[in-house]
Every structure is written in structure tokens, then in C-alpha cells.
């Protein structure tokens, strides 16, 4: 091997090393860290007076919205408000007694079962307790 070739290789090697030192942190930096979300099991979703019979309210349940429904016959229901189709937030149509997703016209019944439109699976149901003035929503035990 000629001296010139050897030097050429040495420079390439140094360049690759330097490039590696720059590119490795860069590649690592571009990937966002995975932070485990604190699991929310129980929240005070509303005060009793906030939601009249026939009304509903969405509330933060961890990082995702939940929906709290106060039916005309005074039952409290809570479900995940994230549509199982493409993740829009659903709402309650009291006239139809249905949960409706406005994005693609998906319907769920009050048990969360997907009854028409594109949603592929039911909404997750939560357990509701009324304690004094607080309406408390809890994840159902697995």
C-alpha cells in the first residue's frame, strides 16, 4: 500500500469517527423519550349540579377525555370519550339517547356498544359513584 493511500484511509477513518460522534447524539436526540404516563384510575369528573338530567360533560381522565352522562331517568354513566374509529372525542345526543362521534358519524349506545357507523369496537366503560356532591369516575377493575 502506498503512503498516499494509507493517509487517504486514515483521513476517511477519522472522518467517519468524527461523523459518528456527531450523528449518534443527533439520532438519539431526534427520538423523543418515552415517559410512562401516570395511570389515572379515579377522578372527580364533576359536581352533581354541573350536569342536569339529559346532559353530559367531557372531563380529563389522565391524558384522555372521558364522557360523563346524566340520563333523563337520573342514571350516571361514564365512558372513554375517545372514539374507537379514529380517536375523535364523542358527545351525547340526549334526543336519540345515543353517544355520537361527529367526525365520521359513528354511534354507540349508552353501554358503549358500537351500533352504527365506522367504529370497530365499543367504548371503554367506567364505574361511577356519587359521593356527596362529587361524581367520581373510576376505571372498572380488570
Amino acid at each position: 500500500m502506498k503512503r498516499r493511500d494509507l493517509l487517504g484511509w486514515a483521513i476517511k477513518l477519522m472522518g467517519a469517527t468524527l461523523g459518528g460522534f456527531v450523528l449518534y447524539p443527533l439520532a438519539r436526540y431526534l427520538v423523543p423519550p418515552s415517559i410512562p404516563e401516570a395511570v389515572t384510575r379515579r377522578v372527580v369528573a364533576a359536581k352533581k349540579g354541573d350536569v342536569p338530567p339529559g346532559g353530559f360533560k367531557t372531563f380529563p381522565f389522565g391524558a384522555q377525555p372521558g364522557i360523563l352522562i346524566h340520563t333523563a331517568d337520573d342514571r350516571w354513566l361514564a365512558l372513554s370519550a375517545v372514539c374507537t374509529h379514529l380517536g375523535c372525542t364523542v358527545q351525547y345526543k340526549s334526543g336519540d339517547r345515543m353517544i355520537w362521534c361527529a367526525c365520521h358519524d359513528g354511534f354507540y349506545d349508552l353501554d358503549g356498544r358500537n351500533v352504527s357507523g365506522p367504529p370497530p369496537t365499543p367504548l371503554e366503560r367506567y364505574v361511577v359513584h356519587v359521593e356527596g356532591e362529587d361524581v367520581i369516575v373510576e376505571k372498572a377493575k380488570a
Binding site: 468524527l18 447524539p25 443527533l26 436526540y29 431526534l30 423523543p32 423519550p33
Partner: protein, 357 residues
């Protein structure tokens, strides 16, 4: 490989670029060392652009989230501390390199005809760099940044006639709020980069057009100084300097990571020992040593006007100095430059001595 090169050559007009590269050369004489500082500033600017874009991926420009997003970046994101630290250190080194570039151009009288516009565009670029520094400083929304911005914008507000308007314009209102942060963010990542790109293009075009200036002490000599090809000879030497700068940056960023400090609290008192970034230090110190009143006028106002006037004279020196770079007028301006450098250096150092009037 050859076919790819031919394909590109036919489409991009690479011969023209090759021709420009072949034509450019650099005079070799005992002051040639100072030719490297413009390229050094440009290299560090490149680092700023690259790391700045990376910081944008995690930064959130709002008073509620800015500090937390930078803390997240520094504590959770892989190498986030490194990217931020390099951005901060490189900013300081870049302004340092730009100052060396400016003062050496001044003392070597590189601003003489036909390079007046090169000098003017360079001064604008230095002003833009300072504006980058000032606007970027606020973005982490920490205590020091908050008060530095308060003081800096207050100084602008003291300028006669346009001051009050400028203060409102900079702050986006009377006070420093989340609105100020949004504005500074906009200045820092959109307006200043856009303006800088244009002015930098002009500056580099002018450097290409007029070639390197030869100082008066070398100019008249026979035979004229030898010349070195820019590509590859000078460029390779440039790159050795860049590699050294990169090593220094890595060292500084790793050994002295840039701190985040405490979150800004608009209702808390200013912390003790607060001072601006070093490149504003000489102005800060000048204002600090002036008495409250000078001949019945507010000392602060005299200082601001004096610094402003000095800046205008410095800017216009290509039109005031002797175009031959020789004779008594040329000597006067050279000595004035030396005095200015000594003043800036001494007053900058005084900031760190904690000197008080």
C-alpha cells in the same frame, strides 16, 4: 460515479461554480491569519442554525411551558443538555469570532474602497448577531433572562423620541409577559434568520466580488505577496480551524453545561449579581459608572446617546478614513480603533471584577 457527476454538471452548471472556485485565491503575508475569522464566524453560525432547529423540536414558546420544556429537554431527552449547551456556547463563540473579525478588519483597514459595502453589511450582521443573542436569552424563561430582558428593553425605552414606541414594540405591551416571549421567539426563529440570510448572502457575494483586502503596509510592495488557492489550500486550513472550534465547543459544552436557573417569576425581586451576557458587558458597565446627572442631563441618557454616536461613527469609518490607508488621517483612525478595543476589553473585564463606581 462519473456519470452522476456528468449528469449533475450538465444540469446544475457545475463548471461555472468550479470556475469561481478556481479563480478565488487569498494573498499570503504576515497578516493572513486574520482572514480565517470570517469563515470561523460562518462555521459557528452554521452550528447555530443546526442546533437551533434541533431545539425547536422540543421547545414550547409560552410563559407556562417554556421553562418546563427546556427542563424536559435537558433532563429527559437524550443529549438534550448537549444540544442546548452547544447552542449557547456556540452563540458566545460566534459573537467572539465576529468581534475578532470586525476589529481585525478595522485595524487592517479592510473597509477601504471598494469594500465600504462589505464593511456596512458586516456591521449589520454583527448587529443581527447581538439581536439573536438578546432575543434567544429570554426563551428559557428563567429568572436571569427575565431581568436581562427587562433591563435591555428599558434601555431601549430611554432613547429619546422613538424609545417608548420601541419599548412597546419589543415587549408587545408595557410589561414583560408571555406575549413578549412569543414575540422574542418569533424574532429569534423567523424574522432574524430571514434577514440574516439575505444580508449574509450580500456580504459573501461582496467578499467574492472584491476578493481579500490587502492591508496598506503590504499593498505597495514589489513584488506583490504570493497568493494561495482558496480551493483546496485555504479551505483546508479553514477546516482545521473549524475542527479545532468544534473540539473546543464539545469541551465547553461537556465540562460547563449551560445552566437553566430558576423559573422567571414576574413578582419576585431581581436576584443578586445579575449581569448581561459578556458581549453587552462593556455597555452595561459604561451605564453603571456614569453619575446620575451630567450637566443637568440624566446620566443614563448621556451614556445611551454616547454609545449610539460611537456606533454611528464606527459604522461610517470607511467614508471618514483616508482611502489610501496612509498618512495622518489613517494613523488617527488606527489609534482610535486601538483605543476602542482597549475600552471594550477593559470595561468588559470590569463587569466580572464586580467593580462598582
Amino acid at each position: 460515479m462519473n456519470r452522476l457527476h456528468e449528469w449533475l454538471r450538465d444540469r446544475l452548471g457545475l463548471e461555472a461554480l468550479q470556475h469561481v472556485a478556481d479563480k478565488k485565491d487569498v494573498p499570503v503575508h504576515r497578516h493572513s491569519f486574520w482572514y480565517y475569522w470570517g469563515g470561523m464566524t460562518l462555521f459557528l453560525f452554521g452550528i447555530q442554525v443546526a442546533t437551533g432547529i434541533l431545539l425547536l423540536l422540543y421547545y414550547r414558546a409560552s410563559a407556562d411551558e417554556a421553562y418546563e420544556s427546556v427542563r424536559f429537554l435537558m433532563t429527559q431527552v437524550s443529549f438534550g443538555w448537549l444540544i442546548r449547551s452547544i447552542h449557547s456556547w456556540s452563540a458566545n463563540l460566534m459573537i467572539g469570532a465576529a468581534m475578532v473579525h470586525m476589529f481585525s478588519a478595522f485595524l487592517l483597514k479592510a473597509y477601504r474602497a471598494p469594500r465600504e459595502a462589505t464593511w456596512l453589511s458586516g456591521m449589520v450582521l454583527l448587529g443581527l448577531s447581538l439581536a439573536f443573542g438578546f432575543s434567544g436569552y429570554l426563551l428559557p424563561w428563567n429568572e436571569l433572562a427575565f431581568f436581562a430582558t427587562k433591563v435591555g428593553t428599558d434601555i431601549t425605552g430611554a432613547v429619546p423620541v422613538i424609545g417608548p414606541f420601541m419599548l412597546r414594540f419589543l415587549r408587545g405591551g408595557e410589561h414583560i409577559t408571555g406575549g413578549t416571549l412569543t414575540r422574542f421567539f418569533g424574532f429569534h426563529v423567523a424574522i432574524l434568520p430571514a434577514v440574516t440570510t439575505v444580508i449574509l448572502g450580500v456580504h459573501l457575494y461582496l467578499v467574492m466580488r472584491h476578493g481579500m483586502s490587502v492591508p496598506p503596509s503590504v499593498e505597495g510592495r514589489t513584488p506583490p505577496p504570493p497568493r494561495m488557492k482558496f480551493v483546496p489550500n485555504f479551505l483546508l486550513r479553514d477546516m482545521v480551524g473549524w475542527l479545532a472550534a468544534l473540539a473546543l465547543l464539545a469541551l465547553l459544552a461537556a465540562l460547563f453545561p449551560w445552566e437553566l436557573g430558576l423559573k422567571a417569576d414576574p413578582y419576585a425581586p431581581a436576584p443578586a449579581g445579575i449581569k448581561p451576557e459578556w458581549y453587552f458587558g462593556w455597555m452595561f458597565q459604561t451605564l453603571r459608572v456614569l453619575p446620575a446627572h451630567i450637566l443637568g442631563v440624566e446620566g443614563e441618557l448621556v451614556g445611551i446617546l454616547g454609545i449610539g454616536l460611537g456606533g454611528v461613527v464606527w459604522l461610517l469609518v470607511p467614508f471618514l478614513d483616508d482611502p489610501r490607508g496612509q498618512g495622518p488621517r489613517a494613523r488617527f483612525w488606527r489609534w482610535l480603533g486601538v483605543v476602542a478595543i482597549i475600552y471594550v476589553v477593559v470595561f468588559t473585564l470590569l463587569v466580572y471584577r464586580g467593580a462598582k463606581p
